[in-house]
Amino acid sequence: MNGRSLNLLGLAVVAVVGLTFMFLTPRVVDLDTVLELTIYMIMAILALSLALVWGYGGILCFGQSAFFGLGAYTYAIAMFNMGESTLPVLVAIILPAAFAALLGYFMFYGRISDVYLGVITLTVTLILFNSVNSTAGPEFHIGAARLGGFNGIPGIPPLNWPFNKKAAIDLEAMFYLSTGSLLLTYFGLRLLLASQFGHIIVGIRENERRAELLGYDPRVYKLATFTIGGALAGFAGCLFANWGAFVSPTIFGLAQSAQIIIWVIVGGRGTLIGPVIGCIGIQWLSALLGANQPSGSDLWSKIFANAPLILGVILIAFVLLVPKGLVPTAADIAAFFLRRRRREQRGFEPQQAE
């Protein structure tokens, strides 16, 4: 089987599994589980946004949660002011994208290095957190929406069918929407990465100077990638605000940013399916550790249900031991065994020149 048909097979598997999951789940599990799975799907969209920006674009963005949070807050504020969700959804995508473009302009056109980029995006996130956190007073409001500071914004109105204010969507429809959006995002990104644009951004990641000498302006391409990532994260934020009908500044917090990075690291940079798996796996693990606490065990809640502690250990362990992430490592192992089997079948294989 050659690379191309393997690729198509992979896509077909994802499509079949994804669609089966999407249409079967609400029929076989109860509503609680559907609600739980919905948030996994929403977070997986967020993971994909960083998979694009970091895994393929090579842009080390530590502040993807800034765009996520902006999307959520924008949706909430716009919803309170308009009451009809078509425009708020669009604004919740456009505003984070515009913010990403502005921030990206300063970073990419300043030609600052990777590492500084990480620090700046992190700083921006922290500043957003601090600013929004301090807007608790009634004097901080945008139109009819009070910002609420550290209390957050409760009771955000749900999405409705486009241009039909009366038809708010229910929990099951929310699941279909989130899963459908995740699948669309996945295939959309696959398409984007298969296009010329996709090849160029990967080329820039591999060797920026060479790409530049070949006539591509890395600044423009990085800015475009970063903006697309911001838009996707904003969209995920909009869905998130819908899911819980609540946003609070912790959405901008360091723990949230770290989580997104951990999903991508655990799953593997340079793949799309990896971060999705990493995201769902880590969230499932956190839920499991939090839920399975033996009653009365203080130590358990201090150690195993302690999200920062567990996430920190996972992050250190993966950076030191599995730096490529699960999916690429699994692919490496599979390729190794495949090669060995072929060699055994042929009995003898001339040493290939590397």
Partner: protein, 288 residues
């Protein structure tokens, strides 16, 4: 007139505290090109070390100026030996690993000390400037910053250890060829950087209190100060702290503390757009 003096003290204090919280990071970054995202947690640990020592009956001055730096310095060396040394030359991986460390330390201190703010009251009382009163501790923090920066300058400029450190910083291979052991220099440097962070965290603990996630409050400011300052450890830290501290304090005075911080960040982003190499990439290039 009194107000001007008061404002001048406030600005000096802002500059001094910025320099204190950034200098440990600047040393680790300037010498080893390692961005330590657990820096804020080193400051937090310094604060806890001082508070725990004080509650065990050790004098507050000894806890702050001796116990905290030693405890955090030792932690720093352990971290360098167990995590950082495997990742030299892989800047992004060190950032990620130290971020993991930062989360781990937050989780650990939450498990041990709980998610509450503990404080020690600031010693020294207050004094009057005309119609205003201000804490004498402010002056102590300014003094500590001056002493620390002076000691780093003297250490780097005039001692044999400083010479070895500067040599390793400029060209590690050449230094190794001349008989220096760079891994040891790195371990010691990381320890010193951590110790200075512990000192800063302890000195600022009476002002802000200590809680497990306090590192977050420091880390953004420390990073933009180091990046804004550029490669040179001392002149970078001093010039960037002076610039950002002044902007922060004046914006705070005019509006609120939160928008003071926003102004600080805005200034930092514009500065990095104009001077990507930091202040010392353009000016004071021959500074330490």
């Amino acid at each position: 007139m009194d107000l001007v003096v008061l404002l001048a003290i406030q600005v000096l204090y802002a500059v001094a505290s910025l320099a204190l919280i950034s200098v440990g990071l600047a040393i680790i970054f300037g010498m080893m090109r390692v961005i330590n995202l657990a820096h804020g947690e080193f400051l937090m640990l310094g604060g806890y070390a001082a508070i725990v020592a004080t509650s065990h009956g050790i004098s507050i001055w000894v806890s702050m100026l001796v116990v905290a730096p030693i405890v955090v310095g030792v932690i720093g060396i352990v971290v360098e030996r167990t995590i950082i040394r495997f990742l030299y030359g892989r800047m992004i991986d060190t950032m990620l690993a130290t971020w993991g460390l930062s989360l781990f330390l937050v989780g650990l201190t939450t498990a041990i000390f709980g998610n509450t703010t503990v404080g020690i009251s600031a010693p020294l009382g207050s004094f009057e400037i005309g119609a205003y009163r201000t804490s004498a501790y402010t002056l102590f923090v300014i003094g500590i910053a001056v002493v620390v920066l002076g000691a780093i300058f003297a250490g780097l400029r005039w001692t044999r250890v400083g010479l070895i450190a500067r040599g390793t910083m400029q060209n590690a291979n050449m230094a190794a060829a001349l008989g220096v052991n760079p891994p040891r220099v790195y371990a010691i440097t990381f320890g010193i950087g951590a110790a200075l962070s512990g000192l800063a965290g302890a000195v600022l603990a009476p002002v802000s209190g200590v809680f497990p996630t306090i590192g977050v409050a420091y880390i953004a400011k420390a990073f933009i100060t180091v990046i804004g300052g550029g490669a040179a450890i001392l002149s970078g830290t001093v010039s960037a702290s002076a610039l950002f501290g002044t902007i922060n304090q004046i914006a705070t005075f005019v509006t609120t503390p939160v928008f003071g911080e926003v102004a600080l960040l805005g200034a930092a982003i514009i500065l990095i757009r104009l001077l990507p190499q930091g202040i010392t990439g353009r000016f004071f290039r021959r500074g330490l």
